[in-house]
Amino acid sequence: MQFKKSIAIAAFAVSAILVSSCSRQVTRVNPEETIDISGNWNNTDSRMVAQELTNNILNAAWLSNHTQQHGGKKPVVIVGMIQNKSHEHIEAETFIKDIEQAFLQTQRIGLVQGGKKREELRGEKADQQTNASVSTMKKFGLESGADYILQGSINSIVDAHKRQKVVSYQVNLELTNIQTNEVVWIGDKKIAKYVKN
């Protein structure tokens, strides 16, 4: 009898441990907080890249050169292709959007839409030609042409042996004058991580 009772207590304790270990706990954290779990690319890396490159591009000589050459007119930039050549899935849009936001907040650089969003805009404009009233219809051929295109690449190098790993990321962005093909700015951000399992 005593033996059965102890077995029942043990079974209850084991099941309690199993239930508590299986329950998932979720806590909201500050997005600015650095939490490294796997050593892969994460939000902190994206934020570091955005901060460094935003600061770099807004304080580089190309901006003042452009405003001087164009009578104080601010440059218009279009974001081109960002190539991810690293070993991981990295979404460049997370830091590109931060950079674009900084352009608009400082009001020193203009932005025009590109890619699929631009196609959608033109589709909407085409739709307006046959459906919108004449006074509200938007015309073709009056878009702002970009002065510069922002392109970039993400590269990584992995050096691993047994339980140790060093991962280096390099994010490059470059700004090219669309008229002259001249590269007016190149910025980069390097991040290296040491991971020990």
Partner: protein, 130 residues
């Protein structure tokens, strides 16, 4: 007579204004704007069909637990397929996949009770691995 003349002039003016609004050419407008308008007028439906919708361009993020479960499921499916394929015939010599055998499994068949643990349900003996 005067009235009809006034009406004609008014209608003409209205027509001119309307056509000017519709086909007016801004001095800064791209001279090839009509080409663009023609091109995009053929793609209106496909370009505006996603308006107001969320396009899901998602990707599968790596999750250690999920990856482990997937590996397990794949392994079980592989094993099940193997046992059901007909290539594997268990003659009661034990599971040669899990137990190394000597003499092509023949010997292992006789030594089965020694290598494979058994348990009893309702007075009948069963092997853990079948």
């Amino acid at each position: 007579m005067k009235r009809s003349l006034f009406f004609t002039i008014a209608m003409f003016g209205l027509a001119v204004t309307a056509s000017a609004q519709q086909g007016s050419f801004d001095p800064d407008q791209n001279p090839r704007a009509r080409e663009s308008a023609g091109k995009y007028s053929r793609m209106i439906d496909s370009l505006t069909s996603d308006q107001g919708a969320t396009v899901q361009n998602t990707y599968k993020a790596y999750d250690w637990y999920e990856a482990r479960d997937t590996r397990r499921q794949e392994r079980r499916a592989r094993n099940a397929a193997f046992y059901n394929s007909g290539y594997y015939q268990n003659y009661g010599y034990g599971n040669s996949l899990f137990y190394p055998s000597f003499g092509g499994g023949y010997y292992n068949g006789f030594g089965n009770s020694f290598f494979a643990p058994t348990f009893r349900i309702g007075g009948r003996s069963h092997r853990f691995y079948h």
